[in-house]
Amino acid sequence: MQNGSQKTQTKQPKPAKQLKPVKQRLSYKGAWKDRLKKFVFGSKEKEGAGKQIVVYILLISIGFVYLYPLLYMISRSFMTVNDLLDSSIQWLPTTAYIDNYKNAARAMDFWKTFGDSGLVAGGPSLINVVICAIVGYGFARYEFPGKKVLMGLLIFSFILPPQITMMPTYAFYTDIGIVNSLKAFVIPSILGQGLKAQIFILIFWQFFRQVPQALIEAAKIDGAGHFKSFARIAIPSAAPAILVVFLFSIVWYWNESYLTQLYVVGVTGGSESTLSTLVVSLKTFDTAYTTAASQSGGTMVSINENIKMAGTMLSILPLLIMYFVLQRQFVESVDRTGITGE
């Protein structure tokens, strides 16, 4: 792009003024065309406004598409049946109708299920953090024979779908009598085979490799044993990784319904176990609501779309709140753990 004659050709430029960026002006005939072009498309140094606008429009529209199901869900869950049938109502319900939530919460037995969900997600997650940290440290710090093979097996066990080991494991759990209880989740996580534990082990491995070896050697000279140097040096430096692993573990356990239903809640009728998580109860929401409505003796209306949406909303509400409170930890998780380090 050609530049016009420069206006800033002063005879004796002061040194202080020279430091300021020289603003180039295009001032020849028809320069406005080039100036416009530069403004819209940008030059090699600066991005053009046109490109910026396109990026913003794209981001905002995709952002809307992302949020659309959520907005739809929220708006529907506050509508009455009449609002649903009224074709003039698209988004805003006539009144904030919270009976949908009341009914859905009653059908799901919200507070008890919520507590159970917390237990099912929180307990194994805590164990996951501890065990994965220990195993990750073992892989990162020591060069024992067969390490490469074992790391390969770690990744292999991540790729392997859980369905393949499901039947023998289920049979085994049934034999030792831990199926349909929380133990069926606790025991695998103690043995480092919790939900997506392989990723967490890799995160800790990556993290502990960055701990300088000199630090640990210095601790050894001062008389710290293997476990002491792990607890006193490695763990405090891994605080961000611990937080990330804990949060993701909670989210993944919370959202897992397939294995939870199989091992913890029970598939056949669900009457064997007293535990039930919100996500699993959402799976059987229709039947649960119908039975609850028939037991209530006419105080609950029959099921409709809005109540289903309210139920869905209830099942994700705790996670949503957690996400907005701890948003930084979630969004910066990938940066913090340095998964992309290599």
Partner: protein
């Protein structure tokens, strides 16, 4: 340098390294007890017909490969679901990876409210569980409202073979679902993009490279490992979500009491084996597609070296033959004399 690397660690060091086993012991037990043993056991199950007997527990009768034969020749659901899964994954993986890359590129630029956008794009990771997605798709909230899905589907059905048309139209009608699955991938790409040295771009710009060229010659080669990582992650995610029909089929078959060769643990185990082999193959193929290529300079250098070696060999051969011939000629000359 090389010798030092090959030197074995001292005895103290070796004994210390044995502590590594202590640290990974829980995982090792888990690997043996909850992964490798069930894997073998599952294969044994798949060769048996297993009937639940209230008195005797599980009764196994060996049937050899009958379960596998039934899956493919008798069961109408499995092959259909497998086909569905393969098509969906084959379409979803490129869509998700490309979309995540585009979003990450846009977020990587100088824009305001970057944190806010990241917040939105990561949100689905938190809430997109199987049952929630099922509820949303059944309500029709998983397709873009302004998009006329019916029309697009119609067009596809008119011009494409049926299998491809249904797969493509399912992509379009559940497009939000696919977008929702790309939260983690966006973050991984974003982190990788931020690590690229900006002086690389500056140097390229001084040499007259456009941003299009920069994208293909700098960005893509640098984040190639991340593309592989994301593709593998997407495959594994897609094969474990509950919207995937095949894993539900396995669990229903596991508890179905049909008995007559179409249910039970053994039958489900055979299904799971087939499914796992397919998933593993998919991952391997994807890895081979994305990993195998070295960049062009390394390839050329290798080719050159190979050529050089060949030449050397040839030269050696000629030299030896020349010596041999010279000897023979001398011998002949001697004889003649």
């Amino acid at each position: 340098m090389k010798k030092q690397k090959k030197m074995k660690p001292g005895r103290l060091k070796r004994r210390e390294n044995m502590m590594g086993y202590v640290f990974i012991l829980p995982w090792l037990i888990g690997l043996l007890g909850l992964v490798l043993y069930p894997l073998v056991e599952s294969f044994r199950y798949s060769l048996n017909r297993i009937i639940m007997n209230p008195m005797l527990g599980r009764v196994m009768t060996p049937v050899q490969f009958e379960n596998y034969r039934n899956i493919f020749l008798v069961d109408t659901d499995f092959v259909f679901q497998l086909e569905n899964y393969l098509l969906q994954t084959a379409l979803a993986v490129p869509v998700i990876v490309a979309f995540a890359l585009i979003i990450a590129m846009m977020l990587n630029g100088k824009i305001r409210m970057k944190g806010f956008f990241r917040l939105i794009f990561f949100l689905p990771v938190i809430i997109a569980s199987g049952p929630v997605m099922n509820q949303l798709t059944s309500q029709g909230a998983a397709s873009i409202p302004m998009m006329n899905v019916q029309m697009i589907t119609g067009i596809f059905e008119e011009y494409l073979p049926r299998v491809l048309a249904t797969a493509l139209s399912s992509v379009f009608s559940n497009i939000i679902m696919l977008l929702w699955y790309s939260g983690v991938q966006i973050l991984i790409f974003l982190a990788a993009l931020q690590k690229i040295d900006s002086s690389l771009y500056e140097a390229a710009k001084i040499d007259g490279g456009s941003s299009w060229e920069c994208f293909w010659k700098i960005t893509i080669p640098t984040i190639k490992p991340m593309i592989l990582l994301n593709a593998v992650y997407t495959i594994i995610f897609m094969s474990n979500t509950e919207t995937n029909g095949i894993i539900n089929l396995i669990s229903t078959r596991m508890f179905s009491s049909a008995g007559g060769g179409a249910g039970g643990y053994g039958y489900a185990a055979a299904m799971a084996w087939c499914y796992s082999i397919v998933v593993t193959l998919l991952v391997v193929v994807m890895a081979a597609l994305l990993m195998g290529r070295k960049d062009i300079y390394a390839r050329r250098a290798k080719k050159f070296r190979k050529e050089q070696k060949k030449q050397e060999k040839l030269a050696k051969k000629f030299r030896r033959r020349g010596e041999k011939n010279a000897k023979r000629i001398a011998k002949n000359a001697n004889k003649a004399a």
